[in-house]
């Protein structure tokens, strides 16, 4: 099975292990990821902060190239890229004049027909059904699934999962044998692209997230976005300085968690590349009383 | 050249759409003046002859609008109207009238905004299709006298 693949710039650099783990996972399930030829950067936050047309044109070129290649589905593991591509597809779909203008800027034919999948949608569509039978080494830990902003917002356009207290990643982690804990910072912002320019802000925002996960006895934070990862992982010294603590909890990509569960080794999944060393706790599952239990039932109201 | 301003007749029921159009007015929502309303007790009252009579007399488009399904003041009138419309579509095709010239919609007494949308969308759609100039050629006018089928 061949599926279009847009890695995005960070997966070629700072988030190399994300690409390694996604590719390795895909191979396990006999999926061939076809990189969009000659893809460019989506422009990320910088483009939409500074220039609207640029922020439309860069993603449009990527999708136009995918269309030219005949790719109907493209998986975009980076949440930021996924967000940009989806929003541009939506905006151009709603405005024909704008669409033709952008087409002329990028000098390519763009229809807007490609389906943009984030990493979880990709897994759900192609892997989930076969996941449980392939699990050989259950991921037997307490995991705080962190969705961040760009995967779920704006809900009106992305229409992915629940916008408050999302569950899709929790479900995957549970299927991989993990215990997805209930916590409060699933969709709070980590500071996003301010890592370099406002490190203090990032330390505070990511710090609050780290602290809540740590307080609730998570062993790992699970992410689906290179930006979230770099803020929580690479900025750990700044976070610990802000919190006045020494939190050593590793941050894993969801693809790494599933990879571990289906028996891939740490090196293939790039676990060695994380800045915060990945150490597996010795006593995997803690006493049930310490773990905040997920509230499954809702209060029964008046019939 | 002057822009084509279509003549559109709206046949609406008294209980839902007429009241809805009243609400559009009460809410001061603006819409195109091309559409003029003729009131009926119920869309169930509106038969083929009435629609054809409108085309015969030079209408470029028609709106038929009544209560939402299940909301009919008379229980079932709007269902009869809907069934009739399904049959009429074929007849219109046969007669060479674009089916898009008749817009069928449901506008409740609470949907003032929707009525303005229905009117404006219909006007835009009819402008797209263009004026209806074949009306004199319809056989209807040769089959019936000007008074239509009367009861006297």
């Amino acid at each position: 099975m061949k599926i279009g693949f847009y890695p995005g710039c960070s997966m070629k650099g700072g988030a190399r292990e994300y690409q390694e783990s996604v590719s390795a996972l895909a191979r396990v399930f006999d999926i061939e990821l076809v990189e969009i030829p000659d893809w460019n950067c989506c422009g990320a936050t910088a483009a939409h902060n500074l220039n609207k047309e640029l922020s439309l044109s860069l993603p449009a070129r990527i999708m136009a190239l995918a269309e030219r290649e005949g790719l109907t589905d493209i998986v975009v593991p980076c949440a930021a890229c996924y967000n940009r591509l989806s929003l541009v597809q939506h905006e151009l779909g709603a405005d024909a004049t704008l669409k033709s203008k952008v087409c002329s800027i990028i000098d390519l034919k763009y229809e807007g027909t490609t389906q943009i999948l984030n990493i979880i949608q990709f897994i759900d569509k192609y892997i989930t059904d076969k996941l449980e039978e392939k699990v050989v080494k259950p991921f037997n830990y307490n995991a705080a699934c962190y969705y961040g902003c760009l995967l779920v917002r704006p809900h009106a356009i992305l229409n992915f999962d629940r916008v408050e207290d999302p569950q899709s990643m929790d479900v995957l982690v549970t299927k991989a044998g993990g215990n997805a804990i209930d916590w409060a910072f699933k969709t709070e912002c980590c500071g996003a692209g301010m890592s370099v320019s406002r490190t203090d802000t990032v330390a505070r925002l990511s710090g609050e997230i780290m602290k809540d996960a740590n307080d609730r006895k998570a062993d790992f934070i699970i992410v689906a976005c290179p930006m979230c990862h770099s803020n929580l992982d690479m900025r750990r010294p700044e976070i610990n300085k802000y919190l006045g603590e020494n939190i050593t909890m590793p941050v894993l990509y969801i693809s790494q968690v599933l990879g571990l569960a289906v028996g891939l080794d740490a090196k293939t999944l790039g676990l060695n590349r994380h800045m915060t060393e990945v150490i597996f706790p010795e006593k995997p599952v803690k006493a049930a009383a310490d773990i905040p239990q997920k509230v499954v039932t809702t209060q029964k109201m008046e019939a | 050249m002057q822009e084509f301003e279509p003549k559109i007749v709206a046949f609406v029921c008294n209980w839902c759409t007429y009241a809805g159009a009243d609400l559009t007015g009460t809410s001061r929502i603006k819409y195109s003046a091309n559409v003029k309303i003729i009131r009926f007790p119920c869309t169930g009252r509106i038969d083929f002859m009435i629609l054809m009579k409108a085309f015969e007399n030079g209408a470029d488009g028609i709106i038929v609008s009544g209560c939402h399904p299940n909301d009919c003041h008379y229980s079932t009138g709007n269902f009869h109207a809907r069934r009739r419309w399904i049959v009429l579509r074929n007849l219109l095709n046969f007669a060479g009238i674009e089916t898009d010239r008749i817009q069928f919609s449901w506008v409740s007494a609470a949907e003032g905004f929707k009525w303005a949308d229905v009117v404006n969308n219909t006007v835009a759609a009819i402008k797209e299709i263009g004026p209806y100039e074949n009306y004199r050629k319809i056989a209807v006018s040769t089959l019936f006298n000007e008074e239509g089928a009367s009861n006297e």
């Binding site: 409060a184 109201m301 | 007015g25 169930g44 239509g148």
Partner: protein
């Protein structure tokens, strides 16, 4: 040749601001058959009507067109005026040049042109109008009241006290509605049950009132003065005549852990239960979904312990037919479901509750005997946050409107809390305080000044649980939108009032219209607030829109007066705008061929068979005939008649064709 009068109203400036009324009158005066035309500032005013009447007499008019507002507003006004001047009222028509013209188009020639053509349409229609006489039908002097909350109770008692029969239908096992769940009421803080329960008892004991609880309206046929209603009395699995209400069964029932609806899930009840101690009637019902016998086929403990052998496991639902002349809808409201506030954790965190749950906590007869204890661990909350506008004024979630009662009950909750927990701190997050009402503003000030409630102006963004506390993240917009974070022990959401469950289906059953939020629609927002668009059906209380108790009671009394006025007549007059099958001289008799397709589509069974006999008494033709008492004038038969033998007064083929031709041939 017709002698028609055209009267163009300015409606102050409502019409004349965008339509050249003088010109419309002038042009209309030149139309064929128009004898007289005039324009006037307010046609509906006394001088306006006098002008109309004078013109009818002076110019011997045989038809009148009033170009003014919607006929839904003033058609009766002008038709009555015509009648007073000796002109048959059905020779008067209105052109709607306000709602359908001046209010929806800008000032321009085009708008005036449209007004002119709307007048022309009606002039042509009036030419084909016929003088008609209204129809008289008898009235059944029984009222059906649907819903047994405070509004239904008030309406039923008022009507019954006028000497008319009332049938009250309540879907729950007891009457009392939401008011019976409340602890105290604003702005007097008097006990809700103390003032309500005597009235509930009065309903049960009133000789003119028949009460059906645990019952629902199944179908409504007929029309004003003559409704035929089918009521489904759900099986209570109990012989009510034998049951003494001793309550032994409820104490012995082995099922004890069913969430109590009356306590809003904060307490439990058995499967055979009386909803609350003061219930009327005070007799139990078996909740079959949760009863061990109905689930597993054995148990019957209640039957064994019942001293009067009143339990009936095989009892079936009963359909009761009610003939009534008027219907009062008093089905009340509901509050939002938990899934509405994912960001507030409502439904997820036990200590995030809604206002009605707080009422139960504060109620002396509630699950905590009136102590404010939080549901999770029974602790007394020392810091409590009230969130106003939880769902209300939130178009993103589909509710644009203000629920009206929340500001007041939130102030009341804060007060009750402070009165019971002296060392506690209540916070209220609000956007605006809407305290319009007698002694309302004073009440809110008391909550702030005397009871030291912290009012914070801003909406809460999110609530989450941490270390047994609820972290409430809000903002104070009066301090430059500074974020405010409160570690609360309990949170009370003032959830929006919404239309009751099943109100849409009920509206469709009863044939009344409803608004976008499924609240029942009044006939006119100002002048007919308790009437519906369906004659003989009235509204009382919060089924129309969120209302507090005084307003609900006032509306209920209003509806009761409407019913009493209706019942004060022996005969009702009805609009004669009904269908008619033509009759001609023998040997044709009628163009009706007797196919009776009309009979198959008539929703009112108003088509009868008339046999035409020759001199020997032999039937030679069977023709359709319309029963004047039953026909409601929908016209479906007219559209369907293959030989055009049926027509309808007011919307006849001739009239409609004239309208179409006048409209299009300008």
């Amino acid at each position: 040749m017709s002698r028609i009068g055209v009267f163009v109203c300015h409606c102050g400036e409502n019409i004349s601001a965008t339509v050249d009324c003088e010109k419309v009158a002038r042009i209309s005066g030149e139309l064929k058959g128009v004898e007289f035309s005039a324009d006037y500032k307010y046609m509906c005013s006394d001088p306006g009507q006098t002008m109309l009447k004078d013109a009818i007499r002076e110019h011997k008019l045989d038809g009148v067109v009033v170009a003014a507002c919607s006929p839904r507003m003033h058609e009766p006004t002008f038709r009555n005026a015509c009648a007073e001047a000796g002109l048959n009222p059905y020779l008067c028509e209105m052109s709607n040049i306000r709602e359908h013209c001046s209010w929806v188009h800008p000032k321009s020639d085009l708008t005036t042109d449209k007004a002119e053509s709307l007048v022309r349409v009606m002039v042509e229609k009036v030419k084909k109008n016929k003088a008609l006489n209204s129809i008289k039908v008898p009235v059944t002097r029984t009222a059906l009241v649907i819903g047994g909350g405070v509004a239904g109770i008030q309406a039923a008692l008022d009507i019954a006290n006028c000497g008319h029969k009332v049938v009250m239908v309540e879907k729950l096992p007891s009457i009392g509605g939401h008011m019976s769940q409340l602890s105290e009421t604003f702005p007097t803080l008097d006990c809700s049950q103390c003032i309500l329960t005597p009235r509930m008892v009065e309903v049960a004991q009133h000789p003119n009132i028949t009460l059906y609880t645990y019952a629902e309206v199944e179908s409504v046929d007929g029309f004003i003065g003559n409704f035929k209603v089918k009521v489904r009395k759900k099986s209570k699995s109990l012989d009510e005549h034998l049951c003494t209400g001793c309550g032994l069964c409820t104490t012995k029932c082995p099922q004890k852990k069913i969430p109590n609806e009356f306590e809003r899930g904060l307490g439990f009840r058995p499967a055979i239960y009386v909803p609350f101690p003061q219930a009327v009637p005070n007799k139990p019902v078996i909740d079959r979904e949760n009863c061990t016998y109905y689930i597993k086929g054995k148990c019957k403990v209640c039957e064994i312990v019942c001293p009067t052998k009143a339990i009936r496991f095989d009892q079936e639902d009963e359909i009761v037919e009610v003939d009534c002349g008027a219907i009062v809808l008093a089905t009340g409201f509901d509050v939002l479901k938990p899934d509405f506030f994912p960001e507030y954790g409502y439904g997820k965190y036990k200590d995030v509750i809604d206002g009605l749950q707080f009422e139960r906590l504060a109620s002396a007869s509630g699950p905590t005997q009136g102590m404010i204890r939080r549901p999770s661990d029974g602790e007394i909350p020392k810091k409590i946050v009230f969130v106003a506008c939880a769902g209300s004024r939130d178009p993103a979630k589909g509710i644009e409107y203000c629920s009206k009662i929340c500001c007041m009950y939130t102030a009341k909750h804060a007060m009750l809390y402070k009165h019971k927990v002296h060392d506690g701190t209540p916070y209220v997050f609000y956007m605006d305080i809407r305290a319009g009402g007698k002694n309302y503003e004073e009440f809110v000030r008391r909550a702030i000044v005397e009871d030291e409630t912290h009012y914070v102006r801003g909406r809460v963004s999110t609530i989450y649980e941490k270390n047994g506390k609820l972290i409430v993240k809000g903002v104070d917009t009066l301090m430059g939108a500074q974020p405010v974070e409160i570690e609360a022990d309990m949170v009370v959401l003032a959830t929006a009032g919404v239309a009751n469950k099943g109100s849409e289906e009920l509206a469709q059953t009863v044939h009344v219209s409803y608004d976008a939020h499924k609240f029942f629609a009044e006939a006119h927002p100002k002048l007919k607030p308790v009437e519906t668009n369906t004659a003989g059906i009235f509204l009382a209380g919060a089924c129309q829109a969120p209302k507090d108790i005084p307003e609900s009671v006032a509306a209920a009394s209003g509806a009761a007066v409407k019913v009493a006025a209706l019942f004060s007549n022996d005969l009702l007059t009805r609009e004669p705008l009904i269908a008619v099958v033509n009759r001609q001289a023998p040997p044709v008799y009628s163009s009706c061929v007797g196919c009776f397709l009309c009979q198959s589509v008539c929703p009112y069974q108003a088509i009868e068979r008339e046999e035409i006999k020759n001199r020997n008494g032999e039937v030679i033709r069977t023709l359709a005939k319309v029963n004047e008492g039953l026909c409601q004038g929908c016209g479906t038969c007219v559209a369907l008649c293959r030989t055009k033998a049926i027509d309808i007064y007011g919307y006849s083929n001739q009239q409609v064709y004239s309208e179409i031709m006048a409209l299009l041939n300008d």
